[in-house]
Symmetry: C2
Subunit: 185 residues, 2 copies
DNA sequence: ACCTGAACACCGTTCAAGT
DNA sequence: ACCTGAACACCGTTCAAGT
């Protein structure tokens, strides 16, 4: 990549990150280009879709969450590790209002730029869940896809200003339900 | 209202209902007007905002759910009544993909055309919850706003095609958590 | 009273023309 | 290689002009 292109790309990512944290992931791409003093077509050239732009922005977070899952797998008790990781996932998405909907769409759309990251994240969660189930501290009738859906719906609460005040409490309610051994076996 | 105006209004509601059940609540208003063989400005004259249109469409369902809550309050055991009503609420929204987001926004926006209906619905749920708590069969650390948020997040799963297969199962997980007596008192 | 076409300011997509 | 203005087909809003 040419030097000016790389500079544009990095500047666009910085501006997009700021714009999204202010207005959410549905912010106008034209606005981002304007704020970056770049043509809209240039933004589209670097990131052909909104998902591609979001993927570039979220990748660091995705990688950190995956690494965090691996770390928790060895350092914490199975139940605590699972809940701690879920909390990290839900908390992380608060920086990217609206991203949950795009992630939910991406998990089953192999064409989406976000697909691979979402699948990796789901797999990391599934490993923590399986470990907790093997230890007999988590419901046995859930799998990685259920866990992904649970994280998504709890994260979604953080996207809705009117529901956000309840999000922490409802997280605990759901986490408690997860750690019951009902349905196991 | 003039006869032709009433006819337009009713026809628009029928067309809008069909369009929304096909494409969700974010369907283009221009499309609805086109399909109703009416000018876009006429649609906006009858329903000045998307929320106003949606409110007219959802009002029947809102009223039925409120009546259903009152009926369940006398006919069923407190815990069963609560869960049955939650199931009805979540199931009802599947006809209106995307409505959950608008309802979540409306519950705290007194200017929204949907506000009054949402508040009424929340109050109906709160009564069922209080009754179940008094009978000692529901968690005591939840209120009507928590319940509204729980319904919203479970209904939201039905809006996301990739998560919908898990919705019924996760409803049961959450319902079980609700009926635990942990946190009561 | 009620309806509507047209103008408006947006949006994301595409591409020929520039450097 | 990389960038961009301009044209395109959309969107919801507004309003003067029609019946």
């Amino acid at each position: 990549m040419r030097a000016d292109a790389r500079k544009n790309r990095e500047h666009l990512l910085a501006v997009a990150g700021a714009a999204i944290s202010e207005q959410g992931v549905e912010v106008s791409l034209r606005d981002i280009a304007r704020r970056a003093d770049v043509g809209l077509a240039t933004l589209l050239r670097h990131f052909p879709t909104r998902e591609a732009l979001l993927d570039a922005l979220l990748r660091t977070g995705f990688d950190e969450l995956t690494a965090r899952a691996e770390e928790l797998e060895t350092s914490e008790a199975p139940g605590d590790a699972l809940v701690a990781w879920l909390r990290d996932c839900v908390g992380w998405t608060t920086e990217y209002r609206g991203a949950t909907v795009l992630m939910a769409a991406a998990i089953e759309d192999a064409e989406s730029a976000l697909h691979a990251s979402c699948v990796t994240l789901r797999a990391a969660g599934a490993r923590l869940l399986t470990r907790a189930q093997a230890a007999g501290v988590a419901r046995g009738d859930l799998d990685g896809a259920d866990l992904f859906a649970l994280v998504a719906m709890l994260a979604w609460l953080g996207d809705q200003p009117s529901l956000t005040p309840r999000a922490d409490h409802l997280f605990d309610v759901v986490a408690t339900a997860l750690l019951t051994d009902e349905g196991s076996g």
